[in-house]
Symmetry: C2
């Protein structure tokens, strides 16, 4: 069987240190302010747009829609529209999305747990710059 | 001993889902395009500014300086200036930075390893939207 260029590229690992590598956009989608929270939230199960928006403090409708679209495009979640009035739109993690969300969660939990420590460093750093 | 407000806040866990929680800025510093790569790179040991810049494809001097400043302010790395001409500036992970960098690395390796899978999903998603 012939090996298309696309197939060959698809087998290659990404390289985040290379300027043109698309892995950078993938990392950005899963770690963006809203992307990371969406991935963590959907680990609980399927949720509607309105539920997601309610649970993530401060996200605008537009930013949430863009975030969900990026994660859907990368295959991390599926979007299902039910023909009700108004239409019900639901989002569910794919197995790939569930997989990456685990690593995002571990990092997020580390940040939440160590926030006090970081805030102390911020304060002493700010104080040292005043002297 | 009295328990200052600062101490009480510092003992509290962060909550990434809360709009005003500073944990969001910490997560952003460690997962930003350049922040994540700096943390991973410095796991190899102390590096100079110019070395870091050379190893991270596409980063500008200004963006790298901002990134390093944010990570230093959060206590994830230390900056040491040697009074040579021109001054030599070196960056080293703190134990806290080493700790968080491990989780960033696991996530980054997942993204690099699964890039082919994501690119396939991107293509089929783009194709399905054309129909």
């Amino acid at each position: 069987m012939s090996d298309s260029i696309v197939n060959r590229i698809q087998r290659r690992r990404g390289d985040l240190f290379a300027e043109a590598c698309p892995s950078r956009s993938v990392l950005e989608h899963v770690t963006s302010r809203w992307g990371s929270l969406v991935l963590i939230l959907l680990r609980d199960g399927t949720k509607r747009f309105s539920e997601i928006r309610r649970e993530i403090g401060g996200v605008s409708e537009k930013m949430l829609a863009q975030t969900l679209q990026a994660l859907e495009g990368d295959g991390f979640l599926t979007r299902k529209v039910y023909p009700t009035v108004p239409p019900r739109v639901e989002y569910t993690l794919t197995p790939l999305g569930h997989d990456v969300s685990e690593h995002v969660l571990v990092l997020a939990l580390w940040v939440e747990k160590n926030l006090g420590e970081v805030m102390k460093r911020r304060e002493s750093h700010a104080a040292s710059r005043k002297n």
